[in-house]
């Protein structure tokens, strides 16, 4: 782990993702309270917290799938605008993988992966297809390229969704509970793909309830409760000696559930 010695060097770089004093309400519900977060290039940040604590909202505000009431969001040092061409362009630079895969139901697997580059980056068709096949091979679903999403298992669909995101050559990828909709036997295959990406140095923000995976893959754990970042820690420290009582309680309920 060259991580420690890199730390000072990293903090001088511009973060890939930066949230400053972000606040968000749903009506009277204050879902995000003064959230500050910065993610450096190559860093894997895992967000953990109870259901309803605002993890998805936090994740979705990063590329403005949800609007914010106050604060700033910067992608690679650039302010995320509220709408328009520039926003679309910045969104194309941050990949997003959803709990429910959201593959385009009317398109083949291959077209699901090529449509982003074709429509947004205006990549020539042949080039986009070659790269798509390469990516599909990388996530192990190249043999399914000409099927439609509904013909694939959940695990396969989620791996295609990751390939679809990779095809955009994103600066970072956001994962919102990528394995929560999967049957247990398929969780591993998806986590393996994400672990590979982590090894290759992909910058990622991952919301997950898979604690072993989190511990393995994270450079940093963020614990969120009631819209507040309660704790930021290394995985080792977070799982062995969490700083807050809330985090301890949360981890204990998980342990109880596992037994």
């Amino acid at each position: 782990m060259a991580q420690e010695q890199n730390k000072t060097e990293r903090s001088e770089q511009t973060p890939v993702i930066e949230l400053r004093h972000v606040d968000k309400h749903y009506g009277s519900l204050h879902v995000l309270k003064d959230v500050n977060l910065s993610v450096q290039k190559g860093e894997v940040v895992v967000i953990i917290g109870p259901s309803g604590s605002g993890k998805s909202t936090l994740c979705r505000t990063i590329n403005r799938m949800e609007t914010i009431d106050a604060g700033e969001i910067l992608i690679d040092g650039e302010h995320l605008p509220e709408e328009g061409k520039k926003l679309a362009q910045l969104r194309s630079e941050v990949g997003m993988v959803f709990q429910s895969f959201n593959l385009f139901a009317h398109k083949t697997i291959l077209d699901n992966v090529t449509i982003g580059p074709r429509e947004v980056l205006h990549t020539p068709k042949k080039e986009a297809q070659e790269e798509a096949l390469r990516l599909l091979k990388r996530v192990g679903v190249d043999t399914q390229a000409h099927k439609v999403p509904a013909q694939l298992s959940g695990g396969q669909q989620q791996r295609v969704a990751i390939a679809r995101t990779l095809a955009m050559h994103p600066k970072a990828i956001l994962f919102d509970e990528p394995t929560s909709a999967l049957d247990p036997e398929m969780i591993g295959e998806v986590l393996d793909v994400i672990t590979e990406l982590a090894k290759e140095g992909m910058t990622m923000v991952i919301v997950t309830h898979e604690m072993n995976f989190a511990r393995r893959v994270a450079d940093r754990i963020i614990f969120v409760d009631h819209g507040v970042i309660l704790e930021e820690n290394t995985p080792e420290a977070f799982f062995t000696q969490p700083k807050t009582q809330r985090a301890r309680d949360f981890l204990n309920t998980l342990k109880g559930r596992d037994k």
């Binding site: 590329n63 799938m65 061409k85 679309a88 362009q89 910045l90 969104r91 194309s92 630079e93 941050v94 990949g95 997003m96 959803f98 429910s100 959201n102 593959l103 385009f104 139901a105 009317h106 449509i115 982003g116 429509e119 947004v120 099927k147 439609v148 999403p149 509904a150 013909q151 969704a161 679809r164 995101t165 955009m168």
Partner: protein
């Protein structure tokens, strides 16, 4: 519509048990008997009033009669086809307008849709037939029937399309937006193609209505099937026989359209991924 009915029926009712089966059989027999009796009575009445006389039916032995009817049918199909295309184009624009983020555009589109749905086809026809010429708008006869039929259907088609758009899961839009697609691209490449597939059966049902509306062609003296049937009636003084044959032709076409709609619906649910 019929396709939707099939699924709703499947969802609402369980497979019939032995008792239910027996009752269904009983009522089937009863209704068949009643139907046979009715048909017998009608034919007997025709016979008594002399409608079955050869003079009313002999015209159908002539090829010219059939050619004349075929010409009318061609006119009907032409009006129906062009109306449908025009109607779809207008409907698409009104639907896009209605779901637009621009409040004023949305409001105007909604108003237009309501107008189209609320005004009877015949009123539209009178407008293009009687009012428009006075305003200096002189259209060929074909358009005097085709445009009103198209306008009259457009509102319903717009709402059918909108229901399809609303049925596309939000996740599809989110995934497209997350890839960096602009609104227009998301709509044309992701949302609308799926919405269109959802509503194909409803659109085909709407075709049946358009086809029926084309029978107003006689108002503007356009030579459609109905108009030509009326010519035959006055030439041969054969009211019932001609109407019967004409009705059968309309029924046949609409039956085929319905079949097509069901087939499309089946096909859609048979291809995984096409639905959902």
């Amino acid at each position: 519509m019929s396709a939707a009915n099939v699924t709703i029926r499947d969802a609402l009712y369980e497979a019939p048990g032995p008792k239910t089966k027996k009752r269904i059989r009983f009522f089937t027999v009863v209704s068949l008997v009643v139907l046979a009796a009715l048909i017998f009575l009608i034919i007997r009445q025709f016979y008594v009033t002399g409608q079955l006389d050869a003079k009313y039916w002999s015209l159908f032995t002539r090829l010219t009669t059939w050619k004349f009817l075929a010409g009318g049918l061609a006119g009907t199909l032409k009006v129906a086809l062009v109306s449908s295309v025009v109607s779809f184009a207008i409907a698409f624009l009104m639907m896009v307008g209605r779901i637009s983020k621009n409040k004023i555009v949305s409001w105007i589109s909604t108003a237009l849709i309501e107008l189209s749905r609320g005004i009877p086809t015949l009123l539209f026809i009178y407008f293009f037939f009687l009012v428009a010429p006075q305003l200096g708008l002189k259209l060929p006869t074909f358009w005097k029937i085709t445009l009103p039929v198209a306008l009259s259907a457009a509102g319903v088609v717009a709402e059918v399309l909108r229901s399809g758009v609303n049925a596309v899961p939000k996740g599809q839009t989110e995934a497209a937006v997350a890839l960096g697609m602009r609104d227009a691209t998301v709509f044309t490449k992701i949302v609308f193609p799926q919405a269109f597939r959802y509503v194909i059966p409803s659109l085909i049902s709407e075709l049946v209505i358009v086809l029926k509306d084309t029978t107003f062609a006689y108002v503007v003296s356009y030579a459609d099937l109905m108009q030509n049937a009326r010519v035959l009636i006055s030439n041969y003084d054969a009211l019932l026989s001609v109407y019967l044959v004409t009705a059968l032709i309309y029924i046949l076409i609409n039956y085929l359209l319905n079949k097509a709609s069901v087939a499309v619906a089946r096909h859609r649910s048979a291809v995984p991924g096409a639905t959902k």
